[in-house]
Symmetry: C2
Subunit: 207 residues, 2 copies
Amino acid sequence: MRQVPAKLASKLYGAAELIAERGLADAKVDEIADAAGIPKATLYYYFSGKDEVLAFLLADMLELIAGEGGTAASAPGSARDRLESAVEAQLAVMLDHPAVCRALVGDLGRATRLPELAAALQEAFHRPIASLLAEGVSDGTLRPVEDPGAVALSIFGAITVTGLSVAVEGSSNDSATDAARIAASICDLMLNGLATTPANTGLEGDR
Amino acid sequence: MRQVPAKLASKLYGAAELIAERGLADAKVDEIADAAGIPKATLYYYFSGKDEVLAFLLADMLELIAGEGGTAASAPGSARDRLESAVEAQLAVMLDHPAVCRALVGDLGRATRLPELAAALQEAFHRPIASLLAEGVSDGTLRPVEDPGAVALSIFGAITVTGLSVAVEGSSNDSATDAARIAASICDLMLNGLATTPANTGLEGDR
DNA sequence: TCTATCTTGAACTCTCAGTACAAACTCTGA
DNA sequence: TCAGAGTTTGTACTGAGAGTTCAAGATAGA
């Protein structure tokens, strides 16, 4: 895949909607090219096929998510507060790119079969959460858990599925507010839990 | 799609691994037929194409999940306990059918573009959780939340992403134990939360 | 200007999903 | 045992569309 010029990249986003709508398999290359407003020959000059077009779009968004999430995660403040910011930041990027998100969920398989994309996914979502959990234990704002990997995965799942669902369903017109609302709901759940009876949060002592 | 005989259905599971590995798009119909050990003509006698083969496999598994989850959800006991059982039951079925799960995640797009499958997905995963949350509020074993829909979605996301991840990575040889362990981890998180400072759930207790 | 890289239209090849169909086989019921 | 319906399969075919090729313009840097 050649270095993609910015102008071309922005045009490609015009095809994301089409891919999201119909799925990569049912979107003909000619249609993708039409939707992006570029000739098919140009498309093949830069990409080896439609798989690579999707991969490019996804990589672009994941980079954004990793960036925003990373910024939030490394800000000053307690790990717990940063976790909340990171969740919100990730959701905000997703809701800003609903078409790409929908394309992602639709062709997740292709995405995870491309090793560098799978790595980017990991990097964008999972890594920052996992490290914030560990930091939270260190600074005492989060309690330690039995299986941190599974917990990070659960949070990751909650964010992505919720975000994707909103992207698919279509959110209101103010995506930033939506992101904040959903993030608050997820964080409330993850931090405070649902139990009414005091179960077993070992919160008395501390680290 | 004709009524699929049980013998044929069981053979089709032999193709799930192939579909999971390569994705539906890259799995040729001839290969799918070979993997299942049936002639292509027979395949087309029962299905209109490979999409329908995948749809059949998924529908089969989702029905199983809905069944097990539903049974757990309607057992006697507090809503909170039943929630834990339902989570574990859903995970158990997923870990019992790793190839189908991987195929599902790989071609989720196709799946959600088939309306009856999307409905089955909803029915299998989301519905039982959402109603258990509501029941938990009624019977007092779970606290009410701001946005029950988002919370149900989050739990749904935690279960599926964790389950799918294990299905993709490959679990140990005892899938039932794995399911129990992961379910415990998810439920601990969802019920008790991660916060050390008492926000909402704050009494203390022990384990 | 000269040269390298980019851009594009158009015609091409080739793989494969899906179709067609007839022969054989199985089962049921009379 | 036969007739008919439904099922199973081999084989050959068709058509769509992904990806290729190429040569002629456009553009831009030296």
